[in-house]
């Protein structure tokens, strides 16, 4: 019987396991399907990781290495090259590996840290041929950075998510020509610093409110794409065609939390995040099962994943050592222009000093204000110079403010100042 089984050894799982160890758990296991720890960070060889956490710019593998080193000084067990097939609300974990075969493991607590996957062409229904040469940006990144292969020489990128932006620069550095980055929305889905450093610095045009409306092929490989401008209802405007001869299309059109295990275990899900509904300590609707990182909601910076996951690991330790939290919960609701919040539920009596709250806004804001209300009563407000859907917002809700909430809901909204 393990005290804690952590599913996934990426940044979230590493931080959660470390934190649970620091809080006193000793029988901890990380199950990782890949042959090494680190998750997606291993293929993110660009820098910019760790500015908040370590006050320096690290590459992805360096950032992961910091946590793996910490782990090496603990007694946390790791099973690599091992797949979790099933978990259940009895906290049994079915795993399989070539080395050890099929095993059913039991745990006093579980942390879900499986990360997310990329949305694909099929999810967004791009018309046209279906040739080779259409990749999700992350797959292309893996081929390029881990396997050492170029996936193409003339590239059009659809979507301006961070991975797409990073890949625009990366492909350029390796000698490819990136012809355009095309974004459906009137704003980018990525971080401003990536727009500047990965597109503008390299003269790569960003077409906002545009999309790919046709993919053509020759001999089984992409040969041409048509891009069109969109009207307010996202319908292509005739006569606005931009034509590109290219051999490759990279897609950076969103990430989806990887929650098949979560759903199968009967854990309550939030359709807004595609992740589990969690409490202030990252506990799911099943006591003793916690979730953190991109499997809960898609983060913009890994630094925040680490912080959130340390809270989850600490909470798993508390659950095992002290028993479960019993407080009644406030439900956090979306107000105007807020897309989702994490956590979705706050057990006020269990909040020590303050509860962290993360969310994303639905549109770009200049001088603006975030408001937290209980019914009609304004409990808290925060000023922001700038907010965008590509960037996660973080606020702290002090316990003494939460104590003033009446009823069982809190509403978070955003508006122009």
């Amino acid at each position: 019987m393990y005290d804690l089984i952590v599913i996934g050894g990426g940044p979230a799982g590493l931080a959660a396991a470390n934190s649970a160890w620091q809080k006193g758990l000793r029988r901890i296991l990380i199950v990782e399907r890949d042959k090494e720890l680190g998750g997606i960070l291993n293929q993110c060889i660009h820098n910019g990781f760790g500015l908040h956490r370590f006050k320096e710019e690290l590459t992805g593998p360096e950032y992961a290495a910091r946590f793996i080193e910490m782990l090496n000084s603990t007694g946390v067990e790791v099973m690599l090259d091992t797949m979790v097939l099933e978990i259940n609300d009895q906290r049994q974990v079915h795993v399989i590996s070539a080395e050890k075969g099929y095993q059913v493991l039991e745990a006093r607590s579980i942390v879900l840290s499986m990360g997310c996957r990329e949305r694909t062409r099929g999810a967004i229904g791009i018309p046209g041929d279906r040739p080779a040469g259409v990749f999700t940006a992350g797959s292309a990144q893996r081929y390029l950075n881990l396997e050492g292969y170029m996936v193409g020489k003339r590239v059009v990128i659809l979507g301006s998510g961070d991975i797409g932006l990073i890949m625009a620069r990366r492909m350029t550095l390796e000698g490819a020509t990136v012809l355009a980055c095309v974004e459906l929305m009137p704003y980018s889905g990525g971080l401003m610093r990536n727009i500047v450093q990965c597109l503008q610095d390299w003269g790569i045009p960003l077409y906002l409110s545009h999309t790919i409306t046709d993919i053509q092929s020759q001999n089984g490989r992409v040969s041409h794409v048509t891009v069109q401008k969109l009207d307010e209802n996202r319908n292509p405007i005739p006569g606005t065609n931009l034509e590109f001869d290219c051999d490759t299309v990279l897609l950076s059109v969103g990430l989806i939390p990887e929650n098949e295990l979560t759903r199968a275990a009967g854990i309550e899900m939030d359709p807004r995040t595609n992740g589990a509904v969690v409490y202030e300590n990252m506990e799911t609707s099943v006591p003793g099962i916690f979730a953190c990182g991109n499997v809960v909601h898609v983060h913009d910076l890994v630094d925040y994943v680490s912080a959130e996951s340390e809270r989850a690991g600490a909470a798993a330790a508390e659950f095992v050592l002290k028993g479960k939290r019993e407080g009644t919960a406030l439900t956090v609701q979306n107000g105007a222009d807020v897309g989702y919040t994490v956590p979705q539920k706050i057990r006020v009596s269990d909040v020590e000093k303050a509860a962290d709250l993360f969310f994303r806004v639905r549109k770009v804001f200049r001088d603006s204000v975030i408001e937290v209300r209980s019914g009609d009563e304004l409990l808290l407000s925060f000023k922001r110079d700038h907010m965008a859907p590509g960037e996660m917002e973080h606020i702290l809700l002090p316990r003494k403010i939460l104590d003033q909430a009446r009823g069982d809901t809190l509403t978070v909204s955003a508006k122009e100042a």
Partner: protein, 478 residues
């Protein structure tokens, strides 16, 4: 000179090869693509129709009903996923209720078992998300769903195990009559055969015209589809058709054998049958029509679009006949071709015998096949599989839970895949919600290792569909 050459290895060519491979005769299958089942067979509605659609007295009517009856045992023998889930033809008006009645009568005449006309409420009891507008429906319990490419593979693999020879990437360019048979010119070596079967799908009119006067013209018709995630499979328990129209059987909603939901197709005649593409117009048409059957349907969980091609013709029936001396047409096999395939194969043998083909049956031909599918195994079976072969403990495709063991088995199967999509059709990797985003690079790696080729040579699918362009650090390695 070989005994029988089959041109085309879709499900029809494969079924004919399977049937002929039970005889003491040499069989060669010529396939222009680098894998089998690359035409109509790979991209269709994946339905084994009951047989109420075709006009009584046609070959289609007889062979559909006969083929449907044969499919179940065949799929059991060859380990092909098939399930008789039944189908509805939904009527939304009094006018369409008449069509349903006509189909019922036609079905009875065609010998379709178990047909019933059910009320709208009865239908919604059996399939709760069907539109409240439905007034009645034809229920055909014998209709089923199948994995079509696996069906063709199972037939062709078994034929190969019985000694048939499959030549892929071999395109027929001309046929001439020679003493005692035909000489078939290809882009590779020519083949001389006593008998020829034309199973060339959308190209079957061109092959026919190489040996006989023009008799029919293929009018390729494209159909576009949506595939939805497994999370949506619950939406349909049966195959949900609307009333047929001139263009075909209309837009359907059905679960698949892989527990996805399939929605489509439209029907649009096209000039270029080679690589049917999806269009915004076609996809919008499918969405609009499907909403009629199931107003609650959304496309949030769509995982793929595809388009397939039908070998429609200007004649109202299959073209199954002796086209010339020792030359059999299994041509213009449109819907219900998949459903009719095993019956068409028997028909082919009968016609060959009429032409004088008279070999003995083999004493012990292979007629069964078994395949390991980790995702459908019980816990005990999984334990056994991994202890027998550790590669069954390494999950490569996480969406569909496909292991390295299955992929390696597929690569060393009687018809080895030469592309990532070839592996996908055999092992199921990349079929799921991430569409190969995760397992694609790993499958490239395994193909490269097992076939002893550079990853740069691994194809996505057909000829020329290279995935990788060059190594990044050529100089450093040199």
């Amino acid at each position: 000179m070989i005994d029988v050459a089959i041109i085309g290895c879709g499900v029809i060519g494969a079924a004919a090869a399977f049937e002929l491979s039970k005889y003491q005769a040499s069989v060669v299958i010529l396939e222009k693509e680098n894998d089998i089942a690359m035409g109509a067979t790979r991209a269709n509605s994946a339905i084994i129709h009951a047989g109420y659609d075709p006009k009584p007295g046609t070959l289609m009517a007889r062979l559909n009903v006969q083929g449907n009856a044969m499919t179940e045992q065949l799929c059991r023998d060859l380990d092909v996923p098939f399930s008789r889930i039944g189908s509805f033809v939904l009527a939304f008006s009094a006018q369409e209720a008449k069509t349903v009645q006509t189909l019922y009568e036609r079905g009875v005449q065609n010998g379709v078992p178990g047909l019933q006309v059910l009320s709208g409420d009865e239908v919604r009891q059996m399939d709760p998300l069907v539109s409240p507008e439905v007034v009645c429906a034809l229920y055909a319990p014998s209709a089923g769903i199948i994995t079509p490419w696996e069906y063709a593979l199972a037939l062709a693999e078994t034929a190969v195990r019985n000694g048939a020879e499959l030549r892929r990437s071999t395109r027929v360019t001309g046929i001439s009559k020679i003493e005692g048979g035909y000489r078939i010119e290809t882009n590779r070596e020519p083949v001389e055969a006593r008998y020829v079967i034309n199973a060339a799908g959308v190209y079957s009119d061109q092959i026919h015209d190489m040996v006989a006067p023009h008799a029919f013209t293929v009018i390729p018709s494209k159909g576009e589809y949506y595939v939805m995630d497994k999370s949506e499979c619950y939406r349909a328990r049966h195959v949900l058709f609307q009333c047929p129209n001139e263009a075909g059987k209309g837009v359907l909603i059905t679960p698949t054998m892989d527990h996805n939901l399939l929605v489509g197709p439209n029907a649009e005649n096209v000039d270029e049958p080679q690589h049917p593409s999806n269009t915004a117009r076609g996809m919008a048409f499918v969405r609009e029509k499907a909403a009629r059957t199931m107003p609650s349907l959304t496309y949030r969980a769509a995982i793929r679009n595809f388009a397939g091609i039908r070998a429609n013709t200007d004649i109202g029936d299959f073209q199954i006949s002796i086209a010339a001396e020792h030359f059999i047409d299994l041509a213009g096999i449109k819907s219900p071709g998949l459903s009719s395939a095993p019956a068409i194969a028997l028909e082919a043998v009968k016609l060959l015998k009429e032409c004088g083909f008279a070999p003995e049956k083999k004493e012990h031909p292979v007629t069964t096949r078994r395949k390991k599918r980790f995702r459908f195994m019980s816990e005990e079976e999984r334990k056994a599989a991994v202890s027998e072969n550790p590669l069954y403990g390494r999950v490569i495709c996480r969406c569909e839970t496909v292991t390295e063991g299955e992929i390696v088995d597929a690569i060393h199967s009687p018809i080895p895949p030469c592309s990532v999509d070839g592996v996908k059709r055999r092992a199921g990797s990349g079929m799921g919600r991430c569409q190969g985003g995760f397992c694609g690079p790993r499958v490239v790696d395994i193909l490269s290792r097992e076939l002893g080729i550079s990853p740069l040579c691994v194809l996505q699918d057909g000829e020329g569909s290279f995935i990788l362009m060059e190594e990044t650090k050529k100089e450093a390695q040199a």
